[in-house]
């Protein structure tokens, strides 16, 4: 299959590519948001621990 007909998607390019692009975006958003949710909680927990340690010394 040549590249041009691949990108053309048999005339359905304007529907197929946005659908796949949107899928990539949603998956990327999930990746970013899940990572952020985890790391934010980790830094917050770490900070609490440091504060508690400082207070106890």
């Amino acid at each position: 299959m040549d590249l041009q007909s691949f990108f053309n998607m048999g005339g359905y390019a304007q529907y197929v590519w946005p659908a796949y692009g949107l899928t990539a975006l949603v998956l990327l958003w999930n990746w970013w948001a899940a990572r952020r949710s985890e790391t934010e909680a980790q830094t917050a927990a770490q900070r609490r621990n440091e504060l508690a340690r400082e207070r106890s010394t």
């Binding site: 048999g10 359905y12 197929v16 946005p18 949107l22 948001a33 899940a34 980790q42 927990a45």
Partner: protein
């Protein structure tokens, strides 16, 4: 068996196990999604009616499947939390909700994009589309309800009830195409007798579903670890861990 279960449901163990599992889920899902995309976009034969337009199937059907799968996971976790008062189960339900909502949005959006060339319209109020839209509102309602409580335990209980009531919608979505006359086509893969699409078209679909499933596992693991940390803020194991 029960000691094993209690160990698993204990936050420090769950936190550690999820942390070990997540990279496997992540890399496996990436590999499967890439393979399925190539297979679906390049290798699979064009449809005799829809031409290359049918290739939207490979992102639409898996996201629609995940939207319902995630809701059932969320409702079961919420139910377990409600009945046995397991905090980890409530945390899991809370972790699943935004992921499920994003897949529901994706199913609606890709369906709409597919509908335009095939049905001549972006949207129609038929039973399948309307019940799927209701699913999105259930996810959003669940998250809004959680956010409206300051006390996490009350948020857990109230949102769990909503999640359980809303689960009725899942079989309605699934059977909507049989119960009502819809523009949406009836099931072609999950039929009991024999799927009505070619095996060459089916293989990439199953690979994509497996990839999405693993991706869901990855995202839930990450979010659930965050939930555990937020809920266990005063626990001793946390102080030792970091």
């Amino acid at each position: 068996m029960w000691t094993w279960f209690h160990k698993l449901a204990s936050p420090p163990h769950a936190y550690r196990i999820l942390g070990n599992l997540a990279p496997w889920f992540g890399w496996a899902s990436l590999a499967l999604i890439l393979v399925a995309s190539w297979w679906g976009l390049v290798k699979a034969p064009a449809d005799y009616q829809q031409g290359d337009g049918f290739r939207i199937l490979y992102v639409h059907a898996p996201s629609a499947w995940m939207s319902m799968f995630a809701y059932v996971v969320m409702a079961v976790a919420a139910g377990v939390g409600l009945v046995w008062r397991i905090k980890l189960a409530h945390a899991a339900a809370a972790a699943v909700a935004p992921i499920g909502a994003s897949f529901t949005f994706l199913a609606l959006a890709t369906g709409s994009i597919w509908g335009k060339p095939m049905w001549g319209t972006w949207w129609v109020w038929d039973a399948r589309l309307t019940s799927e839209l209701l699913l999105l509102f259930l996810y959003l309602g669940y998250m809004a309800l959680r956010a409206s409580f300051d006390d996490p335990q009350r948020a857990d209980r109230a949102s769990a009830v909503l999640a359980l009531v809303g689960v009725i919608n899942v079989p309605i979505i699934h059977y909507s195409v049989d119960w009502w006359t819809t523009l949406h086509q009836p099931a072609s893969v999950t039929k009991l007798d024999k799927p009505s699409i070619q095996i060459a078209m089916l293989i990439p679909l199953f690979i994509m579903i497996a990839g999405f499933q693993l991706y869901f596992g990855w995202a839930v693991s990450r979010r659930l670890r965050g939930e555990i940390l937020r809920r266990e803020r005063n626990a001793n194991w946390l102080k030792e861990a970091s």
